[in-house]
């Protein structure tokens, strides 16, 4: 058997084993990378920066633990940005399993801010600075209902408080008071927000998507239906970079930490594709 034939017949388990090593070694011994933010990520960052005080940022945590490594860093980064700029934040989930993740991100980030806060005004307080509305049956009930009355869709928040009694909700009634809605999703929920919330109520939509779904959303950036987007772990790392460089917030940056492994894995996969193709074409030429 020639080397070219061997190349095309490598047992896939050896490729998996190599991939495991290629991903694992940079996790243990990472190399420094500074992701360069791309325009869709910068646009999202700028849109959040520009939210006026009387309006809110809404984050829809629409993912489950299976896509946590890709999407959870985005939620952290968005919350850090919003809280650092004292933007009001409303959080909801239309994925059932997103509740625990949203709660985890909220408690981690609020603890980060509150541990260094010196005054009551500096602190991040539930009901004043953010409201965690909880979960509602997807997609039509919450998405269309919030256009009329958010408190009606979520009569009580995640913690059991009556939503309409919370101070932040005195001014945040419906989509008219929402400057930007970011759907961080492992599936197609950003489409629902574009189709129902934006088409009917004109809400600006941001997207945090898994890399698999990213190409589906790019046409919506071009048409202006999506204001900004983070795609996959790389998008999360770019946003983390903006939060670090523009706001100086040094919380744990999980997506950036993973970029060394991402880069190594991509190089390895590119190498296997090139070698496989060389083997294929060399064999074909020999057969001719």
């Amino acid at each position: 058997m020639s080397i070219w034939e061997k190349l095309t017949k490598i047992d896939r388990r050896y490729i998996y084993l190599m991939l495991l090593l290629v991903v694992m070694i940079p996790i243990i011994v990472p190399f420094k990378l500074h992701p360069k933010p791309m325009p869709p990520v910068e646009n999202l960052f700028n849109a959040i920066d520009a939210i006026p005080p009387e309006k809110a940022l809404v984050i829809s945590v629409d993912y489950s633990p299976d896509t946590e490594p890709e999407l959870h860093p985005m939620t952290y980064a968005l919350l850090r940005h919003a809280f650092a700029r004292h933007k009001k934040v409303g959080i909801l989930c239309i994925s059932l399993l997103g509740l625990g993740l949203a709660q985890d991100a909220l408690s981690t980030v609020t603890n980060e801010f509150n541990s260094v806060a010196t005054t009551h005004a500096d602190s991040i307080i539930n009901g004043r600075d953010y409201v965690f509305w909880g979960w509602q049956t997807m997609p039509l009930v919450p998405i269309l209902g919030m256009g009329e009355n958010i408190a009606k869709v979520f009569p009580v928040d995640y913690y059991g408080n009556k939503t309409d009694t919370l101070p932040m909700m005195k001014k945040i009634k419906n989509y008219n008071n929402v400057a930007l809605l970011v759907s961080i999703a492992g599936g197609e929920s950003p489409f629902w927000y574009i189709t129902y919330a934006q088409t009917s109520f004109g809400v600006r939509i941001g997207v945090g998507s898994t890399a698999v779904m990213a190409t589906d959303f790019y046409p919506y950036i071009n048409s202006g239906q999506v204001t900004g987007m983070m795609s996959g772990m790389k998008g999360g790392a770019e946003y983390e970079e903006l939060v670090l460089t523009k706001l100086g917030i040094k919380g744990r940056r999980k997506a950036t930490e993973a970029m060394s492994s991402q880069t190594a894995a991509h190089l390895w996969i590119m190498l296997t594709i090139v070698l496989g193709n060389i083997g294929y074409f060399a064999l074909r030429r020999r057969k001719k």
Binding site: M24, I194, V212, H266
Partner: protein, 207 residues
Amino acid sequence: MTHNPWIWVSAILTLGIFSFLYKENPFYRVCEHLFIGISNGYSITFVWHRVLMPTLINPVAHGEKLWLILIAIIGAFYFMYFIPQISWLVRIPIAIVLGYGAGASIPRGIDAAIVQQLRATIITRSTFLSVYNGIWSIVILFGVIATISYFFFSRERKGILKPLSYTGIVFIMIGFGASFGYTVMARVSLLIGRLTFLLRDWLGIIH
């Protein structure tokens, strides 16, 4: 290495799922079935406590929103599927959901996915205020026309249709390539997530 038993459980299950990469085995099967069972159990209890109790059972039990009983009965017709003699009743909730869903979705869907997308391909004088934008708008317009022409099967591919549809294939292939690249990134991200968990939370090798 951690002493937390739940992290041990999680790590062992992760390794069980990874064992499929070597070959199908009973350890993997156990983990897979456990996952499906727990997911279903979680969803059912969650819907009971977070949906049915606060939005249906509690208000009705307090004599409020009694009209919800009618809605609940119609919803319960879904279960009539299991009784052959009256299984036709299942058509009622399906018809309501389909009717409402179609009515709510079709006009908005057409607007969001077709009208707005078509509008984005229209080139006007203002498109060329930025040369960069202008060039890419032409590429997008040409790509849309070429790709659509590839899916035009009502006429034989000859004349202008032939080179246009072949160019459409190039655009489609570039799209597939981009999707593949992103898919690699997605799958590697998940592997990184699990390996980080094993190395940090379970083994304590990294911090």
